[in-house]
Amino acid sequence: MLKDLFSKPKKKKYATIPSERDKQDIPEGIMSKCPNCKKIMYTKELDKNLKVCLHCSYHHPMASFERVESLVDAGSFVELDSEMVTVNPLDFPGYLEKVEQDKLKAGLNEAVLTGTGKIRGNDVVLAIMDSRFRMGSMGSVVGEKITRAIEKADELKVPFIIFTASGGARMQEGVISLMQMAKTSAALKMFSSHGGLIISVMTHPTTGGVSASFASLGDYNLAEPGALIGFAGRRIIEQTIREDLPEDFQTAEFLLKHGQLDAVISRLDLKDKLTNILDIHIPGGVWK
């Protein structure tokens, strides 16, 4: 613009010299603030406590690989289908760019990590969703990876454990993402009819098409404390029924109260409780 010629951007007329106070400031990442109780703690200590707040037990979101570390016997995890990537089935404008951004941001190829491993010596197949990638939404790759993981569990005759964290179906894949609900549920039915053991652990958040498919189909449906779990979004429900919803609506505790879960389990106890269930079903359920 011509105007720009006359009004040059003003240059800063001073230099910034780091003050003593700034130097004493804590480098980013050393401390973490709990969004629930607002208290500050060492990130290292928080991580050591499996990202459960040391003061109020708030469960911070966990990356999929952190989950593997927290549960699976060291060195036993072998990833499945790590090279499967998203394409754009509907030619949805801007979709692949968003996927690429999340790949860099989260260091993942897609919103679910699948693999085989051992939990205290028990062989299992795991699928772990990661809400940092497109809100953990389910498109073709998520549906296919989970289906293949279930088929792997069927082939190896070992239990299948899924950790869900998802906003639901992936809008940009339209009806194809809807059909992933049918695909994954059909795989679980096949696995189940062979006697396979299914454990679903719902973590924050588990909603929409994911909650209305594999997340709800465990022989044992568990959840982490405080996790948001539900089919329709809170705002949509409030607009539809025109009344305020209770504060604990669609939390893990709410679902437990209404008979939708077997148990709400703290992340700190999860490995013990999973081992407990696995031990009772070894070897991997009653196989037909």
């Binding site: 949805f92 549920s185 209305a212 429900i237």
Partner: protein, 325 residues
Amino acid sequence: MIGELEFERPVVELRKKIDELKNLTKDADVDLSEDIERLENRLQKLEKDIYENIKPWDRVQIARHPSRPTTLDYISHLFTDFFECHGDRYFGDDEAIVGGIAKFHDYPVTVIGHQRGKDTKENIRRNFGMPHPEGYRKALRLMKQAEKFNRPIICLIDTKGAYPGKAAEERGQSEAIARNLFEMAGLTVPVISIVIGEGGSGGALALGVADRIYMLENSTYSVISPEGAAAILWKDASQAKKAAETMRITAPDLKELGVIDSIIKEVKGGAHRNVKEQAEAIDMVLKKSLSDLLSLDSDELVAQRYAKFKQIGDYSFVKQFTGVN
């Protein structure tokens, strides 16, 4: 024409004009037959243009037409001896889903479908065709009953989606839908689903895990309503028209995407123009489809159904490792 839609207005107006001229020749002593013939030719061309190039958003309007035939309309035309069964045996009877036993050309079947109302009173009773968990559980109960008596199952899909309400969540909307997907995948009898109006999200899919899936030409099937998609994607529900195009929700789209088996042609202007004729078109497809499926044994049925859904999805592979670190 009753209940005309925006996109067909040119046809309606031209037809009105022709009728006017016809009346004029009757009353007055002028011969306009040449003009009338010319206009009628034009009408034919215009009808062809308009009805053969219906835009996605116009199809949405047809699918939502208040007088579009519902499940019960088709049941009375397609089946005989319909006996409606109520209740899920746990909580109640959800009138947003109807189901029962009937005969299709003397062959016993189970038929289940979403049911919306045609006026406000009926819509309130039917909850606008948006089911609660007990609706899905009733449907599942009837499917299991069909399996016991070795009857094929025919599902008619016509819902905006599962009802987003407090009670629905408390009673396990998610679990009810998931359970239907799970159990339908294993049914040992033929299952045929036909989308007759709107196929909205998980609420539609809960009657949709079938061996054959058909859509009426002007029906839609989608993961979310165009309004909902626009609100989420562009934070603007008024962009629903654009969403209807981008999300690919029409019968021709789903055929192309390989999600449905085939499209059932509609009578010109939409199924509401002639229910009987529309039912006949459905009847032909059902007959063929049933006789194909009845030739398969139960293991083949389940295996083919599994393969059918397994192949839906699009992905590729790269040789790189950015996974677990």
